[in-house]
């Protein structure tokens, strides 16, 4: 499959880039630092570590998704490396999906490394693993893939700088989507229409955030996780279809 050939090459490209290691290094440093912070809090040490660890995985994962995602396609066009690929019997769709898949693979490996460090710190302190936390990690990964698809979509027609700003805006506003919906329900007329448009266009990232729940031991049902993942897949599919349509039409000058 040509998609996988391109995905593999994208994987290599990111692996051999230094930015990844910098971000990963800081992520692990921060997760480690949560131990110190936990020491400051009386009795709640483990909760603080869990809370901070999950936040780190989410934030640094998002950083990788956005930073790498926005330049993924742009760089190929800018450096004209795409010329030789499109000249081969490869469709633009295959190219774009391959790039996307390569980055998703990188994110997966990063998440595994980060949560591995995270769980081993928890094991050192409490002598047991908290596997409930992995539910949150799975949904963080789903969220990262959603963000990646948005970054890739913007990078098919925009510069990395603009794509970065747009994607960041989607990420931040997407985290408040529930509040936006509530705001819309309390208002009327134009404001209501406006908020509902935003609510349905932007990803509802609240669906992926169960960090607080798992840290405080509140149960999270498998139905909820399944629902969130299906929502994610649908959202990603739509964004990727839009990306492909844009990418198909553009000229590589």
């Amino acid at each position: 499959m040509k998609i996988f050939v391109i995905a593999k090459n994208t994987f290599k490209e990111i692996i051999r880039d230094k930015i990844l290691y910098n971000i990963l290094f800081f992520a692990i440093l921060m997760i480690g630092a949560s131990v110190l912070l936990g020491k400051l809090s009386l009795g709640e040490q483990l909760k603080v570590i869990e809370d901070m660890g999950l936040a780190c995985i989410s934030v640094f994962g998002t950083l990788i998704a956005i930073f790498v995602g926005i330049s993924l396609v742009f760089k190929e066009i800018d450096k004209r490396t795409i010329y030789t690929i499109i000249a081969k019997p490869v469709t633009r769709t295959e190219f774009l999906l391959g790039k996307f898949l390569g980055l998703v693979l990188i994110l997966l490996i990063n998440i595994i490394i980060m949560s591995g460090c995270f769980e081993s710190i928890i094991f050192m302190i409490s002598n047991s693993l908290n596997l409930e936390l992995m539910k949150a990690v799975i949904l963080i990964f789903a969220e990262l893939v959603v963000i990646t698809s948005i970054a890739v979509m913007f990078s098919t027609f925009s510069t990395p700088f603009l794509s970065g700003i747009f994607t960041l805006a989607f990420y931040v506003i997407g985290n408040f989507s529930m509040d936006i919906k509530n705001l819309g329900e309390k208002s009327n007329g134009l404001a209501r229409a406006f908020t509902s448009v935003i609510y349905y266009i932007l990803p509802n990232l609240d669906n992926f955030d169960i960090k607080g729940k798992v840290v405080h031991g509140n149960p999270v049902s498998y139905e909820f996780i399944a629902y969130s993942i299906i929502y994610g897949i649908l959202y990603i599919s739509i964004v990727l279809i839009i990306s492909v349509v844009i990418f198909q039409r553009r000229d590589f000058k």
């Binding site: 040509k2 050939v5 391109i6 593999k8 090459n9 290599k12 490209e13 051999r16 880039d17 450096k79 004209r80 490396t81 795409i82 010329y83 030789t84 690929i85 499109i86 000249a87 081969k88 019997p89 490869v90 469709t91 039409r249 000229d251 590589f252 000058k253």
Partner: protein, 311 residues
């Protein structure tokens, strides 16, 4: 069957705030025969790269159509028969030479074992056998150009399209690329390459198309050009007596003295024979006889003048 055929190929770009239309290629009708070396000649900005990008499907024509081996260019299977080297070497610099070729082989779904042999073979062909293990960021410009050509040959294409394959190379590099192109022709491939340098094109091409300001000025056969009247011949001679020179000067005024050597420009074949006869009679030391393919140059500049009027 034509290797490349275009019909009324036209490309407009829109630029600036008001999206002003700029025509970069106008109504291009071109036909490249199988198994020939076809030169695509024109000054910078003539629309050569635009044409090649259109053929590769990197940009879409505003109007007109193009075929490669009778398949329309938007048919993805047409690309199985093509090898393409874009202008200026821009490649994945984090890959090593052999990784780079393996990657492109993968895009053709070439079976692994066969690909490994093919990669070795190609690295040898372009003279990069040892450098296969080096990352491309350590390659020199000439090496990049050669690995780029290797990349374009990975699928053993029937048609090889090269965009400015000799630009930015030193004389040795240029010669290597020229030899490679001739070897490809001997292997039965069609080669279509663009250049803005006359001598490169003259030396190896069977036919040449001249493009200026987006318009095709002419398509000519290089052999016909050589035979054509008006092509001059430069004769270089040394150890030549002054009195003998006077005899030549009777019918030929184009004589230049440069130290020991004397350069005589003959206007026709018969004139050349006459001059050579005198040189042999007087035992002058003949150094070289070089046909000056002036007509291609003349055509080039004629086209430029025509283009100037337009833009």
């Amino acid at each position: 069957m034509a290797a490349i055929k275009t019909e009324g190929l036209t490309k407009d770009y829109r630029t600036g705030f008001f999206l002003k239309k700029i025509r970069v290629l106008e109504n291009l009708n071109l036909e490249v025969e199988e198994k020939e070396i076809f030169g695509f000649l024109g000054p910078n900005g003539a629309g050569k790269t635009t044409t090649l990008k259109l053929l590769m499907g990197l940009i879409y024509p505003s109007s007109g159509k193009a075929w490669i081996f009778n398949k329309e260019i938007n048919d993805i299977s047409a690309k199985k028969e093509i090898g393409f080297l874009p202008e200026g070497p821009y490649f994945y610099d984090y890959l090593t030479g052999s990784e780079f070729l393996n990657f492109y082989g993968g895009l053709f779904s070439i079976e692994k074992k066969r690909l490994r042999v093919k990669v070795e073979e190609l690295l040898e062909t372009v003279g990069l056998g040892e450098a296969g293990k080096l990352q491309l960021r350590r390659y020199s410009k000439g090496m990049l150009q050669r690995i780029g050509i290797a990349q374009s040959l990975i699928n053993d294409p029937k048609l090889v399209i090269l965009d400015e394959p000799m630009s930015g190379l030193d004389p040795i590099g240029r010669k290597e690329i020229r030899d490679l192109i001739i070897r490809l022709k001997d292997a039965g491939k069609t080669i279509f390459f663009s250049s803005h340098i006359l001598s490169d094109v003259e030396m190896i091409c069977d036919r040449v198309a001249i493009l200026v300001k987006g318009m095709l000025i002419d398509t000519v056969s290089v052999n016909d050009l050589l035979k054509e009247e008006g092509g001059t011949i430069e004769i270089c001679v040394s150890d030549f007596e002054r009195s003998a020179l006077e005899r030549i000067r009777e019918f030929n005024k184009k004589i230049i003295n440069r130290g020991e050597r004397i350069y005589i420009t003959a206007g026709s074949e018969s004139e050349k024979d006459e001059i050579l006869k005198i040189i042999f009679e007087r035992k002058g030391k003949l150094i070289s006889v070089t046909p000056q393919k002036k007509s291609l140059e003349a055509l080039f500049f004629k086209g430029m003048d025509k283009g100037k009027g337009k833009g």
